[in-house]
Amino acid sequence: MRFKKRASALIFHLLIIAFGFSMLYPLLWMLMASFKSNQEIFAGVNFFPKAPTLSNYASGLKGVSGYSFFKFIGNSFLLAAACIIGNIVSCSMAAFAFAKLEFRLNKILFSVMMLTLMLPFHVRLIPQYIVFNKIGWVDTYLPLIIPKFFATEGFFIFMLTQFMRGISNELLEAPRIDGCSTWKLFINFIIPLSLPGLMTVAVFTFIWTWNDFFSQMIYLSNPSRFTVAVALRMFVDATGQSTWGALFAMSCVSLIPLFAFFVGFQRYLIEGIAAGGVKG
């Protein structure tokens, strides 16, 4: 009986590991390939590099169009930081109103907000582009940042509203009776109590901004403003397939911040996914 139990546990682990390894195989292979010479990448099936080299990283980090790859990483970080601030400020304000304040249109406006979650962004895309173009914002970060300060990410409002509804009303009553203003209530009580929710917003904003390709490609055209996503594609166009090694090296570099955020903030990420059913 005990033997049977052990054997089935062993089979369980073997199966899970084998399947997991085959899933991660492409990623691991890319990581290994980034340390191989270009000839070795295109020959044979060996997993580990025969003569590990850092030359791919050296040539990849030189970047494209005269800008080092670090520049693009810096751009992506700046953009993500601005989007995080915008989302946290604007979405937490809206969520507070929906979750804790009383006003006649609360239910209706909340439904409107949920409805916007289902809209494909393409119905807004073209007029937005045309207007941003008219006012000279194309080829700046403004079209990517400014909307975030106006709570355009409905999902985060939804998530924070759920979170703030969980804060007990009794807890807020005492400061209320002491004459605490609504604004002070928000800053001194709601915000500190919502910190885990706000962390989740920050982590998701980072991942989405880092991975976003479509809007960054549309709005950014000067290489000095390129983000990692746009630069990677340019890299392929500029160098072709002859330098897969350098491309893989830069791909790995581009995934490191994602991985670091994941490892550091796993708890918030998992909670966010479980709370709202979004993809990471």
Partner: protein
Amino acid sequence: MKRHAINKPWEAYLFLLPWLIGLLCFTVIPMVLSLYFSFTRYDMAKSPVWIGLGNYVAMAKDPRVLKSIKVTATYVFLGIPFQLAFALLLAVVLKKPRFGVRFYRTVYYLPSLFGGSVAVALLWRQVFNKEGIINRLLALVSIQGKNWIATPDTALYTLILLSVWQFGASMVIFLGGLQQISQDIYEAAAIDGASKFRAFFTITLPLLTPMVFFNLVMTVINAFQAFTPSYIISGGTGSPVDSTLFYTLYLYINGFKQFKMGYASAMAWVLLAIIGLITALMFGAAKKWVYYDD
């Protein structure tokens, strides 16, 4: 005792102000403009010219529109069932806290974390190339592989595989749902002599259907808007012979390559209609299979 309102009504609107401005400036007005553009010919250089239903009529006759709808629908309806099935299976298998489970969950989640990136799309292009790693592994067992990315019959399936590969996020959602199911029900079922297999189909699955449904709706809506894999893997063209021409990619080509802003706007509204229709159908069908407690 009459309960005092926690706030003055105008205060609530003050907190909502950024969102209200955003709703007006970045959603409502653009949508109205977009609807108007969809009835015009507009290249951004000259003013829009009203052509009535011209764009919509042209769309109905445009073989590339029909092709892109077919490609996108195949991508959505072939990929998502597999994605959700894998997610559910692994969630059930990795539900029990036992040695190594936390690590395994992380491993299966990682593709979802990286999958949307340009880096992984580029990697996919290499993996399924003629000299790609898949073919080299196949060669070990003496199978001659082809260039999966450049063959019209198989190119789309590499994209579908890329989406199925990212089942981890759904798995995490299901894990959250499974953990909410009370252990008492299973114990009661076990006392009544129900097998684990039977318990899964009569307890776990029905209780999980609301979550499966929510996941299905959100995944379908998102999948219809997928762009990066199609753009990167096909080099921005939807090649070979339009076999990976996603609807959003064709919309992008019309709007931002050929500056047919009117046509692209019409395409956006048809996309909205398609997504709306399918969402409504899913909600209608939900009554038949989604289990609600109350």
